[in-house]
């Protein structure tokens, strides 16, 4: 089932959580809503679920083309997974999963044997069938989150909404679980929205990423689109590391000689650390002179902190370990920088 939201606005007192948000999630896709805290992403998810309502008259939520704006959460057929799991702490894992079926009206309710069988099947699906009798407090974070997922799936939702599903887990479990979620989604093909502030997570598993900031959608696109062609300075800075440099300082730093005149205009230039090329200073050429201030060589890449000679701006550069050893750099050495790829958001100025 596809999900659409049109012109959603929501204020909490004087704070504007959502300021006219549009969203379209096609049937069967896994979409990440990515943004810093306070960007309105969780509020948007709760409005889609029916746990919050948009400000009167402001917007509509559509499931499969049908307006569900005024339908309460319980009848929307959504599976919602909370950041802190929200498992019923006084119920066993099995009872948690069976809850959604047991609260059905008698004529819609399966027999208790059928309910228990279905709950067991779902626990198998999330690879937790052995723990059916445990209580939530006896499970690890990752296990709890999978129980929460099984519980949400028990009511056969048409869409799955995950609010920072891995936010409370440690880094290793997070990584494992998000890959598992991607495979899981490929298996069950349920339209899914998940909210996260972790750009790595969003870029890694989502079909499409919606980037939000201050109650607005900044950009929508595939992970590659939003990473390679950020639509705004915010997106550039939010997705990965970036150097923000003053344009006049860059005269000569660009590869194409003809562009230096343009670059002399005022404005800011966004450069990813791995899009900067370093050459030895005495080799000559057109690059910008910079002094090496710090070398951080632990890990697969070497990260260097340079200080540009002209403007004293600090620039972060990422190069491979082999490049580093070829350059044979040490702190306080002079190098030349060239920008392989850079971006400006001035209207009349492009690189």
């Amino acid at each position: 089932m596809s999900i659409e939201a049109h012109g959603i606005r929501k204020k909490f007192g004087a704070f504007t959580a959502l300021d006219g948000v549009d969203l379209h999630v096609p049937q069967g896709k896994l979409v990440a809503v990515l943004g810093p805290s306070g960007s309105g992403k969780t509020t948007l998810l709760r409005i889609i679920a029916g746990l919050e309502f948009p400000d009167p008259g402001s917007g509509r939520v559509l499931f499969h083309g049908d307006d569900v704006t005024d339908i309460p959460a319980g009848r929307r057929k959504v599976g919602f997974v909370f950041q802190h799991y929200a498992l019923f702490r006084h119920m066993s894992v099995l009872d948690n999963v069976a809850f959604g079926l047991r609260v059905r009206r008698r004529r819609d309710r399966p027999t208790s044997a059928a309910i228990s069988e279905r709950a067991h099947r779902l626990l198998e699906l999330v690879q937790l069938d052995g723990l059916a009798g445990r209580f939530p407090s006896q499970l690890s974070g990752g296990q709890r989150q999978r129980v929460a997922l099984a519980r949400a799936l028990a009511v056969e939702p048409k869409v799955l909404l995950l609010d920072e599903p891995f936010g409370a887990l440690d880094a290793r479990v997070r990584k494992e679980l998000r890959r598992w979620l991607r495979r899981f989604h490929d298996d069950i093909q349920l339209t899914t929205i998940f909210v996260t502030h972790d750009q790595e997570e969003a870029l890694e598993i989502a079909d499409e990423v919606v980037i939000m900031n201050q109650g607005r959608v900044e950009q929508v696109g595939t992970p590659q689109q939003v990473y390679d062609k950020p639509a705004s300075p915010f997106v550039y800075q939010f997705l990965g590391n970036v150097n923000v440099l003053r344009a006049p300082a860059l005269a000569g730093a660009l590869r194409g000689e003809g562009r230096t005149a343009e670059a002399a205009r005022d404005g800011q230039i966004y450069v990813r650390p791995h899009d900067i090329e370093l050459t030895p200073h005495d080799a000559g050429g057109t690059g910008l002179s910079a002094i090496v201030r710090h070398i951080h060589a632990a890990g697969p890449h070497a990260r260097l902190l340079l200080e540009q000679v002209q403007t004293r701006e600090h620039v972060e550069v990422e190069i491979s370990r082999s490049e580093l050893s070829e350059l044979n750099l040490s702190v306080n050495d002079l190098v030349r920088m060239r920008l392989r790829q850079a971006h400006s958001f001035d209207e009349d100025y492009a690189i």
């Binding site: 959460a73 319980g74 919602f80 019923f88 702490r89 809850f99 959604g100 209580f135 519980r151 009511v155």
Partner: protein
């Protein structure tokens, strides 16, 4: 870090422990012991006779009746108020929270007087009540009202912090799973607060049985009719029937002890249950 760093010299530990124990013995255990010693001074037969005497029985019955009305009413109010305060955002919330504490801040005597001023013969509603042949003050309804006022914070105060710390996530998930409001309350909220609720009920019950000040103002002290147990104790004491007074008092003391035992059991259960 060496544990010695946080350890006081032996004499200090002994001294502080001794001070605490002497204080406890003198102000808590001694009076309690005196109550039972005095009550049984003239033997078990006299003790039982003092309790079985018709006025004493009437006082016990009235106290139990009051408790039977007040505790359920305050449970209903306390759960509703705590639910509203902890789970919803609305304007005037802080005023409601403050109002719930009002009975703790007001002297019980003033609480009783308020009801006299509203329902008494010279009060706002007094003439209307007399015209319709209804009695509130110097009658059972007044006693119930005054007791309810004094004890109304207990359940709510116990539940509000508990429900606030539990948040609304579990209720929200119950709702998205299709549970109705009623199902959410019975199956999710109530099991989560049951020990806190039980604790509130115990405290509310103890205070309702023991309330003196507010009840004294509205009761009129009519023997066998509007005397609760604490009032009956006072009357007997003023009549120099010391043993009788202490016999009835010992019942209240026993109740207090039972309450404490209950409370400990509840706390122990609470600590054990995740």
């Amino acid at each position: 870090m060496s544990p010695r760093a946080t350890r006081d010299p032996a004499w200090a530990r002994w001294f502080l422990t001794a001070v605490a124990l002497v204080f406890l013995a003198f102000f808590l255990l001694l009076p309690l012991a005196v109550v039972f010693a005095q009550a049984l001074e003239k033997g078990v037969g006299y003790y039982l006779a003092s309790i079985r005497e018709p006025d004493a029985l009437a006082a016990i019955r009235l106290t139990l009746l009051t408790v039977a009305i007040v505790v359920p009413v305050n449970v209903a109010f306390g759960v509703a108020a705590a639910w509203a305060i902890a789970k919803f955002q609305f304007s005037g919330k802080s005023i409601l929270t403050t109002l719930i504490d009002l009975p703790f801040a007001v002297s019980p005597v003033i609480a009783g007087l308020i009801y006299v001023l509203v329902f008494g013969a010279q009060g706002w509603l007094g003439p209307w009540l007399i015209a319709h042949n209804m009695r509130v003050i110097f009658a059972v309804p007044g006693i119930v009202l005054a007791t309810a006022f004094v004890t109304c914070p207990f359940v709510a105060r116990e539940l509000i912090p508990l429900m606030q710390s539990q948040g609304t996530d579990e209720e929200c998930s119950a709702v998205t799973l299709g549970a109705s409001g009623w199902q959410t309350f019975w199956r999710v909220t109530l099991p989560n607060i049951k020990w806190g609720l039980f604790y509130g009920v115990i405290l509310c019950n103890a205070r309702a049985m023991g309330e003196f000040g507010a009840v004294s103002v509205v009761s009129g002290h009519i023997r066998g009719e509007t005397n609760t147990m604490p009032l009956h104790v006072e009357i007997l004491y003023n009549e120099y029937n010391i043993v009788g007074a202490f016999a009835v008092a010992s019942l209240l003391a026993l109740l207090a002890l039972a309450t404490l035992v209950f409370k400990s059991v509840v706390e122990w259960r609470q600590a054990r249950v995740p």
